[in-house]
């Protein structure tokens, strides 16, 4: 046993060590890109673009963090992102629903996918890897069906359909509104989401029990913690988070594309894992995920600025993800000793 009387301090030091490491890495790449891009990287417009990309990654990432903490996995959020974007678009632009109804439909659709994942994982008891992989494909099919694989834009509705100006404005402002000081609206949404998830995961009893379930599911069941119910909520939260990000992104680009979630899976997992969440469960934080997203956004942005091309970017992001996890594992082992 550690003879250290101030264990709390030590725990703090451990998590601080990890945070400091991530911050160091972020600083390092910032400096690196600032120099190699001859200052282009540090231009406000560029930084804002970077933060916007990060914000949608982070909102999805928070949801994934909740699922990973319980020891489950969700591979369907990318497809849910696509479906939600299309559902809201089709209902609003093609069917002529009100905007708020369309958004509600998208969020409910996502929640149903979350329920589906939870049902097969906790009641039918198949591995969540398979359940959500299957769900992902089903959802993408539904997405293509609903959208007839068309891209939609509220700016060019189908013939005969007129979208009220006020709705159009509201939808666009969802992400594009600029707050005083040039602060982009979408970033505010991210901060709001970060606060909600921070509260949920670290302050609420819910978050504490999620962590316990991820640490030892059998013990949680014996302790009569409602494992099924908690996991169900984790899956729903993850799907709804993906749907929220999808709607914000569609607002930003003023269009809905059926395959828009396809590229989301890897960067989100990478960011969350770099942020310290464990795929075995029981570990994961909002601040970690936030920093993982920032690091990933910087990398993607910086490499694009350098004109390295998509191929190199792919390879680089993959390598960084593996590197970050290896580094964390070795330092964790050392800290334990």
């Amino acid at each position: 046993m550690s003879s250290n009387t101030n264990q709390r301090g030590q725990n703090f030091k451990q998590s601080f060590g990890r945070t400091a490491g991530l911050l160091g890495a972020i600083l390092l790449v910032v400096v690196l890109f600032a120099i190699t891009s001859h200052g282009l990287f540090l231009k406000p417009a560029n930084l804002l673009g970077l933060l916007r990309y990060m914000s949608s990654l982070a909102i999805v990432g928070f949801g994934l963090t909740a699922v990973l903490i319980t020891g489950e996995i969700d591979l369907s959020f990318g497809a849910v992102y696509g479906l939600s974007s299309m559902l809201s678009g089709v209902a609003w632009i093609v069917w002529g629903w009100d905007l708020w109804q369309s958004i509600l439909l998208a969020l409910c659709g996502a929640a149903i996918v979350g329920l589906f994942n939870a049902f097969f994982t906790t009641i039918v008891k198949i591995p969540s890897f398979i359940a959500t992989l299957g769900a992902s494909t089903i959802v993408f099919g539904v997405d293509l069906l609903v959208s007839k694989s068309n891209t939609l834009s509220p700016l060019s509705p189908p013939n005969g359909r007129v979208i009220p100006k006020s709705e159009l404005k509201f939808f666009s402002e969802l992400s594009n509104h600029v707050l005083p000081g040039g602060f982009p609206m979408q970033l505010l949404w991210m901060l709001l989401a970060a606060f909600v998830f921070w509260y949920l995961l670290t302050k609420s009893l819910f978050g504490f029990h999620l962590k316990a379930i991820g640490g030892n599911q059998v013990a949680a069941e014996f302790a009569k913690i409602k494992v099924r119910k908690y996991k169900m909520w984790a899956f729903i939260i993850c799907s709804v988070a993906a749907a929220s990000a999808a709607i914000l992104d569609s607002s930003y680009i003023s269009s809905m594309q059926p395959d828009s979630g396809a590229g989301l899976l890897f960067p989100t997992f990478a960011a969350v894992v770099i942020g310290g969440a464990s795929l075995i469960g029981g570990r994961g934080t909002v601040s970690g995920t936030l920093m993982g997203c920032l690091l990933l956004a910087i990398l993607a942005n910086g490499l694009a600025l350098l004109g390295s091309g998509a191929f190199l970017q792919q390879m680089f992001v993959g390598a960084v993800t593996i590197g970050a996890v290896v580094l964390d594992q070795t330092t964790r082992a050392r800290r334990k000793e």
């Binding site: 046993m1 550690s2 003879s3 250290n4 009387t5 101030n6 264990q7 709390r8 725990n11 509260y199 302050k203 609420s204 009893l205 819910f206 978050g207 504490f208 029990h209 962590k211 316990a212 991820g214 640490g215 030892n216 059998v218 013990a219 949680a220 014996f222 302790a223 009569k224 913690i225 029981g282 570990r283």
Partner: protein, 492 residues
Amino acid sequence: MISPNSSDKSGIRLEHLRKEYGDTIALEDLNLVARPGEILGIAGPNGAGKSTMVKILASETNQTSGTITLNGAPWDPREHKKQVAIVHQEPQLFANLTVAENILVGIEKSKYVRPKSSQVDQNLLNEVGLAEYAHRRLGSLPLAIQQRTEIAHALARSADVFLFDEPNSALTEEESSELFEWMHKLAKEGKIVFLVSHRLLELAAHCDRVVVIIDGNVKVEIKKNELTEERISRELMTGVANKRASLTHAGKNTKDLLQVSDWKHVDEAFKPLELSIMQGEILAVIGVEGSGGREIVRSLAGFAPTTGDIAMQESKGSAVTKQVAFVSGDRSSSLFSNLSVGENLYVRLENRIKTKLRTLSQSRARAIAESAKSEFLVRAASIDTPIRSLSGGNQQKVAIASALALKPQMIALEEPTRGVDISSKAEIYKLVREYVSQGNAAVFYCTEVSEVFDSADRAAVVFDGKIKKILDVTKFNDAESLAGAISQATAS
């Protein structure tokens, strides 16, 4: 303490073997010799260090200090894995491969090509009676055949040390006696054979010597000519301190707290039974693994599928089982290794630590954890210490304290002091006793008579899915006579 004929160098010799896990001393100063040609029995209560010894010989862990020699030369199990064969209760083979392929694992002729079943020595297969099963998938075969495959696997690697670790607890009588024939055969061929078992009768019947391990030391070695079941039992019982004197027994309070009737396990792990548990008592359900005793205790907490009636005070049915707190005998399924000591202590609570905003009230939770820690004498630097760094006994105290923090009217504990040192044992019994004396009740699932004697008021003896008899433990003056009454009850 054993001074075997020192000129005889043959066999395995464990000298001053010591193993510490953090604060816990699993083996203190273990000395023993196992010679080729004999079956050496190993007996001892749970947590005495038997399994640590097995793990060291199986090179699953290494000793903190001490030496092992084979035929006089220093011997490191890690360098001679192939020389040692371990036959567990659950065979540690590959259920997805055939019997023949399993035998070939580790001795494949080619590094690259998947081995052909025909490479298995046909003589060996015939000898162990596995020829007809050679091409069957191991997982689809009965346990006895799987164990025999394990033996064949070891023979094919020409192992010379055979360690049977509770090998027959899940076998039928017939299969068991076949297994014992195998042990004798192996011994006759000059192999070194260990038999680790809780079944004293079998130890007495089949071993040449039996070594009783208690608290990490060899307490006594019983030679063939004095080897009887009673003798081993006596050594085991007296080895565990009888601290019962400090307990004040119930008897004042005889109001029923919980009753079950026509209570039946859906998969027939136990037959329909009637049982009532009184306020203020600790009821021990004693029975070997597979007797149904474990399932009876679990069913009271709602962790076994049952039919029938259950009532406690005003509640009935699942409302009762929901209120019964349960602690599994296995700490890997009662504690959360990613949480701190304090978090483990309050993890089961909900209303007492919840604020109006559904947040966890740190101040209330920590206060509860602090008081549970001091009440249960949990030796940990602070409640923020990681649970993993505690000794086994202290971890067990946390596991039980977390259930009691719920303030349930009834708790169901499985082997509450398994793998726990003597002083923690006494403390755990005392604390549970205090808890039941406040009008609550506890039911234990036990496999050791000493635990029943030390802790319980009444003992329900379970055999073959039935409660054979309920004994009044307070009427017995020593553990031996209780053991006698229990074995009598199972035989009836």
